[in-house]
Structure formats: C-alpha cells, structure tokens
Symmetry: C2
Subunit: 332 residues, 2 copies
DNA sequence: TTGTACGCGTTATCAA
DNA sequence: TTGATAACGCGTACAA
C-alpha cells in the first residue's frame, strides 16, 4: 500500500542498501545512481517509515514533556518556550499531563522503559531518588525544570529569594503586618515551591527584625478560588494585614476579587503582590515576582538536547533568578 | 540491555509465541504456563517495546493535534478538553504547533505518510480539498475542530450566528453606531472565522434595518495590541461608535485598555462585547459570545476515536452553538 | 561503489 | 495448548 524502500530499489534498479545510503546521504554513492534513486523516490512519493527507522536507530525523534495541570498559565508560558525550542531542533513534542499521583507514578515508571521518546523534560515535579536512579540506569536523558533532584540536571528558580524580594519590598514601603497566602504542598517531595517561598518570607522578615506571625499565613489551592477564600479569611480578621503576598498570580487574582467585594481599596488599604508574572498580572496591574518562564522552557530543552547527544554528561544544577515587578497593586 | 520477549521466553522456559499470548491475554494458554510467564516478566521487569509493537500492528497508540499558536487562550481551552478526552482513552498526545504556512504545509504533507499517530485532530485550520483528499487516501482519520472541509468530519461553531447574537443584543439595548473589530484573515481558505463573523454582523444589522457602515469595521491581529490599535482608530474618529463588537476576547482586552487611556467610560460611554469566552473575560467582566471550547476538544477526540475504529465512517458536519453572556461591559 | 543478508522486538500463522 | 518461523521496513556489516 505505502511505498517501501524495496519499491524504490526496484524502480531505480538498485539494491535497498543503495537507497538507504541515498536517504541518509552517505557519501559513497555514484552521482548517477543517486539521481536514479532520487527520481524513484520522487515518483513513488516515498517517505521512510519512522517507526521502522527508530526500531534500528533507537531514536524516535520526539521528546516527552511531563507537566502537572499544563493548563495553568504558568505551565503554558513554560510550555511555549519548550515548544519553540523543540521546533528549532525539528523534534516532536509528546505531552504527558498528570493530574493525579497515579498518573505521575505511571509516567515515571513506564516512560523509561517505553523509549518512545529520546528524552524527557519534567516540569514542576521532583522525582525521588529511586525514580531518578531508574532514569539514569536505563540511560534516558532527563531534565527537570522548576524541580530538583541531585541525580538529574535541574533548572530551578530561586523561589526563596523571590519570596524574599517581595517581602523586602513590602517592608521597605512601610508594611509591618504582611499576610502570606501560600499554595498547598502537592506531592511529598523535598523540593517544593510552596515550602521555599514560605522560607523566603520568614527569612526576609527575620532579617528586618519583624516577627513572623503564623496567623497571617494560609495555604490554599493554586487557583483563583483558593486565593479568594484565603483572602476572605485574612481580611475579615479583627486586625487585618496591610499587605498580602501571594504565592501565585492566579491566586492573587482571587485576592483582588475578595478585596473588591469587601470594599477594601487596592493599593490604598491593601497592597497585593503575586508570584509568577503570567500575562494576566500585567493586564490587572498586579505587582509580582516575575519568573523567567519562557526561558526556563527553552533552556530546559537545550540542556536536554546536549544530554541526548552526550548521555554521560553529569547532572547540573542551574539557578534562575526572579525579578520583582512593581505595578498598580502596590504603588499607591 | 533491556529485556525482550526472548529473555522472558527463555526464563519461563517457553516459546516467544506463548509469551506474546500471555501479554495480549489471548485465551488459549494453560494457567500453569501463564503463571510461569508472568513470573518471568515480573522478575525481568519486562515491558513490551511499543515501537516494535506498532511495527506490526500499525498502531502507535498516540494521536496528533495540529494547532496554530496553541498558546492563545482559545486554543488552550480547547486543548484542555482534548487532553482530558485523550487521557480517558489511554492514548498519548503529540502536539504540532504551527506558526507559519510552511509549518502547516509540512504538517499536512508529512503526517499522513509518517503514521506516527493513529489519527489527527486539526484545530482552526481548514485544509484544502487536495490535502483532505490525501488524508482520506492514505486512510489516516482526521477530525477538524473550528474548521471545515466537506471531505472531513468537522466540528464547527456557528460563528455567523454568534456574531449576530452580539449585534442583536447591542441593537436591542439601543445602540445604532456599532463598531466591529475583526481578526485578520489567516490563510486563504474558504471557511474562516473572521469572514463568518463579519457576515453575522452584516446580517443582524440588515435584519434590523440598520445600515452597515464599512468605516466602522477594522481588521487587526488576533491579540491585545491589535485590539488596542483598532480601538484607538475607531474611538478617535469625529463620530465614534457607542458600542464595539470585537471578534475575540483577547482583542477586546486591548479595546478596554484603549478606552481607559482615552478616558471613555465602559459601559456608560462605550459598550464592549467580545467573542470566545476565555477565562479572562469572566475576570474582567467582559460581555462576550461564549464558545463551548472544552466541549469542542472533547467531542473532537470522541469523533476521532470512532473514526479510528471505523475508518470507513463518512465525514460528518457537526454544528455547535454559542451563547451570549452579558457582563459588566454592556450592562450599565 | 554496490548488493545481500542479518537483526531490531514484536505479532500472527501454521504445524505439531 | 504450544513452539518455530515468517513478516513488518529499515540500517548496516560484509562480500563482491
């Protein structure tokens, strides 16, 4: 039905070996025969079967991306960088979205064996040592983005420092009662965005000699509703905070909604700072701690490609920095 | 290095045929031997190689999604439905993002031959008859979502009626000078969202006996900046419109920005209606024509799966309806 | 420079 | 119920 290398060989009156050599433009083939083969290929509209090819070469020409809830704006931004980088390498992008722990475990255990991808980029998910070891063992290149493992090349954002930037700014402009709405800890791993951001908050407060008040900290879902609920909680206490730092922009949007419905003016009566720097933060004039999201995706892929070319390459730990962006929700 | 079916056969002391039968739980295998095989599989941590499998079965267990600029919110929403549906089928998702006509043509011409996917879902891109014919010819199942071809199963939104809904509403609440900011026509295909929405605008005006004024129509890029620029254009004319209907929410956001910087109050001095119903429209209180985006993705995949199971299934044309959503930018 | 034969890891067919 | 063997379409030694 579909033309194979044999058909081409027959039409061109050569052996399949020669056709193969022409396809992979191996040097040792006489110009005359090459022309004949090329013509036969053209005539039949022949394309090498990539499945059969990867059967031999052990290369699939596609790379896998594992992300939790890739529909969240943060992942979208990273994914955009990933996609662009992958396209420049001419690879295909296989997307594994994981919503549950089961899906994650399934991905982590099966992917290494499958070899349906030449490499894997894992987003915001830190595999434990056992899983990481397995990836190494089977020789499947892996890069972690926004996640960390000592055994795997990791690109991490300095979450702690980012949170500190936000708190230092708020302290500097005079706030003393600062609320912190964190995201809930997803998964039971050591590297965790929520944990690190909380750490950064504590640190910055301590440096400034301001007491840390656990009553002002709430952890909620990483979404708008979570942010809104938490904000209601914080803003309806007897003594409410004069500023709230939120662990993600999307939650911060919920905070703004809560403030509006409570008739609390932003920034006059309440300063709000988010985290991430997704598009909506710019739209709403939300001050935020900007992550280099696009860059994370792109660099992650570049690292992965070098790893694919040189699997023996030792794991690296790459730190990326955040930038505080001052907008309308803080500057009165 | 990695265990194969031969290793399993050797350890279990059976032939590879038997192992294969156990894997695909074919009935005719004695419980005793099945147990031995299962044990060997477990011992070796053996997983069948999917590449070798699809070499024979001609099934890759993954489906391709072609989308232009999948990073736009509209595509994200559809993609979310797509992803969820694909997950329920246990398939893998291969994402082809196309930004240029070359990439599109490349996708359309290569994918059918590759057979690296069992089926393709094409988003917002209408292949011409020649390309469609090719898909049919090689027997690769295709479903079009938000796009149309007479030769392929297509899920389309009633763009014309949607635009009419918006205009009828604006007319009903008293507007007579209604501006229309359209998206530019991308690609030279017959089915086109921009064209249909313009048609709907004209129709609704005509029905109401209101003259259509070409001066009030501007076509721009499908993004915020495009919307903003177009709005500046419309709003700085001597007699400006009292309402603007915008072909996408993302452009409408730009319109709102323009109105704000021109100190034109919304909705008192200017009513704004978008199209799409992406999350941000809800956030900003933007009145809009809601598309059933998630549903489009899900239904598209379901249709594709039935097509994969029954390739002879004739192409269908499925219409989906929009819903007008009234929010703050129109209701004074 | 070119053709042949083998192997990649499966599934499917056919005898036994 | 089972095992050997032939495909599947390609890359690649090896021989010519």
């Amino acid at each position: 039905m579909m033309a194979t290398i044999h058909d081409v060989a027959r039409i061109a009156g050569v052996g399949i070996g020669t056709v193969s050599r022409v396809i992979n433009n191996s040097s040792n083939v006489k110009p005359g025969t090459r022309a004949r083969v090329l013509e036969a290929i053209d005539q039949l509209g022949y394309k090498p079967n990539p499945i059969a090819r990867s059967m031999i070469s052990k290369r699939t020409n596609s790379i896998g991306v594992i992300a939790p809830f890739f529909t969240r704006p943060f992942f979208m931004e990273v994914l955009q960088g990933v996609e662009m980088a992958i396209a420049t390498y001419g690879k295909e992008l296989v997307l594994y979205n994981v919503r549950t722990d089961e899906q994650r475990d399934h991905c982590f255990s099966d992917l290494p064996m499958h070899r349906k991808v030449d490499g894997v980029l894992i987003l915001s998910l830190s595999p434990d040592d056992e899983v990481a070891q397995k990836f190494r063992h089977v020789g499947l290149p892996v890069v972690l983005v926004d996640a960390y493992s000592p055994l795997l090349t990791s690109l991490v954002v300095n979450n702690k420092e980012g949170a500190s930037q936000a708190i230092r700014y708020l302290l500097q402009v005079g706030h003393r009662r600062i609320g912190f709405i964190n995201g809930i800890v997803e998964g039971n791993f050591k590297f965790n965005q929520a944990t690190d951001r909380l750490e950064g908050v504590k640190c910055a407060l301590q440096e400034a000699g301001v007491a840390f008040d656990p009553e002002l900290v709430v952890a909620t879902e990483w979404n708008r509703v979570g942010g809104r609920d938490a904000a209601f909680h914080l803003l309806t206490r007897e003594v409410r905070p004069s500023a709230i730092f939120v662990a993600s922009d999307i939650q911060a949007v919920g905070v703004l909604e809560a403030a509006r419905s409570l008739h609390i003016r932003v920034p006059e009566e309440l300063a709000v700072v988010g985290f991430d720097g997704i598009e909506i933060s710019e739209l709403l004039g939300l001050s935020t701690v900007q992550q280099p999201m696009r860059q994370m995706g792109e660099e992650g892929i570049h690292k992965l490609m070098t790893l694919i070319d040189d699997p023996a390459h030792p794991p690296e730990l790459i730190w990326l920095n955040t930038t505080f962006v001052e907008r309308a929700t803080t500057s009165g």
